[in-house]
Amino acid sequence: EVQLVQSGAEVKKPGESLTISCKGSGYTFVNYWITWVRQMPGKGLEWVGRIDPRDSFSKSDPSFQGRVTISLDKSTSTVFLQWDSLKTSDTAIYYCARSFCSGGKCSDYWGQGTLVSVSS
């Protein structure tokens, strides 16, 4: 059974660092991109970025570039989303999704979401 299991909810203060994770199982990890999507409270979906597990090439939306880092650990089939210095505006649910088609343009399985709360 294909599963993407994300790490648990986080409560942080502005300026703190954070890494959340997404662990894939039930499929060949390197054959599928992983995409990250943000959903701020009461708002719609926003594409954050994606990573190719074959070569660790990652691409982020310009609005997230410099704010987040997408990385992975092939040995544990886990993808990470990392912040060096959180802002209150990073408060949101972050979803990971398994992606395929050319350059990961299609998706099927999604994680359950990780709630990140940033407040002083």
């Binding site: 719609g44 979906l45 939306d61 050319s102 343009k105 299609c106 998706s107 999604w110």
Partner: protein
């Protein structure tokens, strides 16, 4: 950045048919944009329904169908069920980066 526009809300009667659309502010939507559609029920993670314009994910009920219509991507729900009440998002891939639409809240009434 390109804006992707969806109807903010639509209402449909049980058993009825409704079509949601997804438009780009800068260009005609084609298969090259790999249009995808997602359903999000309250408090749940989004669930993919359609990718590459009209290909259903394995769990997508037959009453959902995707197409290209008049320069836009479209999602048609036929024989609507009460459990279809949800917010639906489209996603388009541009040369730069993918962009989600703002979502359409479908009410079954």
């Amino acid at each position: 950045q390109t804006v992707v526009t969806q109807e903010p809300s639509l209402t449909v009667s049980p058993g009825g048919t409704v079509t949601l659309t997804c438009a780009s502010s800068t260009e005609t939507v084609t298969s090259a944009h790999y249009p995808s559609w997602f359903q999000q029920l309250p408090g749940q993670a989004p669930r993919p329904l359609i990718y590459s314009s009209n290909t259903k994910n394995s769990w997508t009920p037959a009453r959902f169908s995707g197409s290209l219509l008049g320069g836009k991507a479209a999602l048609t729900l036929s024989g609507v069920q009460p459990e279809d009440e949800a917010t639906y998002y489209c996603l388009l891939h541009f040369i730069g980066d993918p962009v989600f639409g703002g979502g359409t809240k479908v009410t079954v009434l």
